[in-house]
C-alpha cells in the first residue's frame, strides 16, 4: 500500500483510458502523455494498461508500506527516495517505509510513476482512470491510501536505458488537417504556422492558446471530437482538446494532433511556445 503524505498539485491515477462509452458522453481520459506512461509500465514488464500515477508540476510525497519496484518517466521533477535523488526511466527497488518525494520541475510538467503490477484502485466503466463525475473524485487527497500487490521478486534490472524522448520537450507539435480545416482562408492557414504560446487555461480537459486568429462565423452543427482536436471559437481562440475532453462540440475542428503531439503538448505549461507542424 502507498500512503499519500502530501498529494502534490494534481496527482491522478490513469491507465490507457475508458473506451466504449463515448456515445454516452463519457470522456476517454487516460494518461495525457501516453508515450511516457506506456514506457514506465513496459520497464516494469507491466501491461501497457496498468494503472499508474500522473504527477503534474508539483509532485506528491508518498510512503510505501510494502516492497515493490517503481519507474518514473516523463517530466523531470527531481524525484527522490528518502531525500536521495533517483533517475527517470530506471527500475527502482522500494523497501517498506521508503518515502518518495519530488522537487522543482526541470523539464516538462507531467511525470508518471508506475508500480510493479499496477495500482489496484477501483475499476469504473472498464477503466481505473480518475475522471469526476464518472469516478467519485479526480485527484489524490492527503491521507489517502492506494492499494497495490507487494512484490519481492526482481524485475530484469536495466542498469541504464537510453530513452529518446526529446520530442516531448521540443516546441514542434505534429498535426493533421481537421475536418473543417478547409473552412479557413489562406491567411488563417498561414497564421496557424506562426507558433503559439500556452495560456493559463490548461488542464486535462483542454489547452487554450494565447494568440488568436481573427473573429469568424464558422459555426458547425454539434459533432464528435477527439483528444487532440484543435477547435476554433467565434472569437478566434484556439482550444486544443486533451484526454478529459467532451465527446462532442460545436466549434470547427481545424487541426488534429497526432498522439505524439498530444504527449508533447501535455508536457507544456503556461507561456511555453509551440509550433504546429503538418504531418
Amino acid at each position: 500500500m502507498i500512503k499519500v503524505l502530501a498529494p502534490g498539485l494534481f496527482t491522478t491515477v490513469q491507465d490507457t483510458g475508458r473506451f466504449g462509452y463515448r456515445n454516452k458522453g463519457v470522456p476517454v481520459s487516460g494518461a495525457m502523455d501516453s508515450f511516457s506512461a506506456v514506457l514506465a509500465n513496459r520497464l516494469l514488464n507491466n501491461d501497457d494498461g496498468a494503472a499508474l500515477l500522473e504527477i503534474t508540476m508539483t509532485g506528491p510525497e508518498l510512503e510505501f508500506t510494502a516492497p515493490t519496484h517503481i519507474v518514473i518517466t516523463g517530466a523531470r521533477i527531481r524525484p527522490a527516495i528518502n531525500q536521495t535523488l533517483i533517475p527517470n526511466n530506471r527500475v527502482i527497488r522500494i523497501h517498506p517505509s521508503d518515502v518518495l518525494s519530488f522537487g522543482k520541475p526541470e523539464r516538462g510538467i507531467r511525470a508518471y510513476m508506475a508500480i510493479k503490477g499496477g495500482f489496484g484502485t477501483p475499476v469504473v466503466l472498464k477503466s481505473r482512470s480518475l475522471y469526476f463525475p464518472v469516478t467519485a473524485y479526480d485527484h489524490l487527497k492527503k491521507g489517502q491510501e492506494l492499494g497495490h500487490e507487494a512484490f519481492e521478486g526482481t524485475v530484469d534490472e536495466l542498469i541504464e536505458i537510453k530513452v529518446n524522448n526529446d520530442f516531448l520537450f521540443g516546441s514542434s507539435i505534429p498535426v493533421y488537417p481537421g475536418p473543417e480545416y478547409d473552412m479557413l482562408n489562406a491567411e488563417e492557414k498561414e497564421m496557424l504556422g506562426r507558433g503559439f504560446s500556452v495560456s493559463t487555461l490548461n488542464n486535462r480537459m483542454a489547452y487554450q492558446l494565447e494568440e488568436q486568429l481573427p473573429p469568424n462565423d464558422y459555426g458547425i452543427i454539434t459533432s464528435g471530437t477527439l483528444p487532440g482536436t484543435v477547435q476554433l471559437t467565434p472569437s478566434g481562440r484556439l482550444i486544443v482538446l486533451m484526454k478529459d475532453c467532451q465527446t462532442t462540440g460545436g466549434y470547427p475542428r481545424i487541426l488534429q494532433l497526432s498522439e505524439q503531439g498530444i504527449c508533447a503538448l501535455a508536457q507544456k505549461k503556461y507561456g511555453d511556445r509551440i509550433v504546429f507542424t503538418m504531418c
Binding site: G25, I221, G224, T225
Partner: protein, 245 residues
C-alpha cells in the same frame, strides 16, 4: 413513414490517423439521424476493424484504437453504405418527470416576461412536445433534445452559471435538455428532474440512446421529493415504451 428509406449523399474523411468522420447533409432532421444509426449498426456488424462510434445530429465519428489505413477503410465504408438495407429503426420513448416549481426554475420568470407567455403555458408547451435525442455529449448522459416548441426557443444566457444543479432542465437555443450532474452551464433553467440519467456504477450507465424519443411530464414538489428518495435508494426505473412513428 418512409423517412428511413431515403438515401443521402455522405462524405467520408479521415480525422487524424486513427479516426474517420462520416457526414450527412448539414440539416437537423429525423431521416438523417435514423440513417446514421442504421449505418452505425451495419458498421458494427460488418466492418472488419472494431471502432467506437459517436453519432450526433448529421455525423458519425468512428474512432479506432490505433492508426489505421483510413483510405482503405473509407472505401469499405462507402461500399457498406451503398449496399445498406434500410429497415425501420426500433426506438424507445422515455417519459421523464420534471418539477417546474419556482424553486427549481430560476430562469422561468424572465423567460415568461420576455416571451409574454405565462409560466403555466410554458410548462404546457414544454410537456406536450415529443423530443428526439440528437446527440449525447457535453457531460456524461447529457442529451441534446430537438423538437422544442418554436415559441420557447431562447438563446443561451450571456453569462453561464458556475453551478447548475444536477437534474436541472434547461433551454439552450432550439434545444432542451437535462444536466445529469452539477456543472457550469449557460442554458435557461425552467425545472428539475429527480431521475438519474447517468449512473457509472451500472453496466449500462445511460439507458437512453441517440434517436430515442423523450417526453416530459409535470410533477409536484412533493412528488419530486418522493422520487428523489426512490432514485437514491436505487429502486426507481425510468418509464419507457416502444416508439412507433
Amino acid at each position: 413513414m418512409a423517412s428511413a428509406v431515403e438515401k443521402y449523399h455522405i462524405s467520408i474523411i479521415p480525422f487524424g490517423p486513427g479516426a474517420i468522420l462520416v457526414t450527412w447533409p448539414p440539416r437537423i432532421e429525423e431521416g438523417i439521424l435514423e440513417d446514421i444509426i442504421l449505418f452505425g449498426r451495419v458498421i458494427a456488424d460488418r466492418l472488419e476493424k472494431a471502432c467506437e462510434q459517436v453519432p450526433a445530429y448529421h455525423s458519425l465519428l468512428l474512432v479506432f484504437d490505433e492508426a489505421v489505413n483510413t483510405a482503405e477503410i473509407s472505401d469499405r465504408l462507402s461500399g457498406l453504405y451503398g449496399s445498406m438495407d434500410r429497415k425501420p429503426l426500433e426506438r424507445r420513448l422515455w417519459r421523464i418527470p420534471v418539477c417546474y416549481h419556482p424553486g427549481f426554475a430560476p430562469d422561468m420568470a424572465l423567460l415568461s416576461e420576455r416571451k409574454g407567455i405565462s409560466p403555466e403555458e410554458i410548462v404546457k408547451r414544454h410537456t406536450r412536445a415529443t423530443y428526439t435525442v440528437y446527440g449525447i455529449g457535453f457531460l456524461p448522459g447529457f442529451m441534446y433534445l430537438g423538437g422544442l416548441d418554436e415559441s420557447l426557443v431562447t438563446p443561451r444566457r450571456n453569462e453561464p452559471r458556475q453551478k447548475v444543479s444536477r437534474g436541472a432542465v434547461g433551454i439552450g437555443g432550439r434545444q432542451t435538455g437535462i444536466y445529469p450532474q452539477q456543472s457550469p452551464g449557460g442554458w435557461n433553467i425552467i425545472g428539475n428532474s429527480p431521475v438519474q440519467l447517468f449512473d457509472p456504477l451500472k453496466k449500462k450507465p445511460c439507458p437512453v440512446g441517440i434517436a430515442d424519443k423523450v417526453r416530459f411530464y409535470e410533477i409536484s414538489r412533493e412528488e419530486h421529493e418522493l422520487l428523489e428518495i426512490e432514485v437514491s435508494a436505487g429502486v426507481h426505473k425510468l418509464k419507457n415504451e416502444k416508439w412507433y412513428d
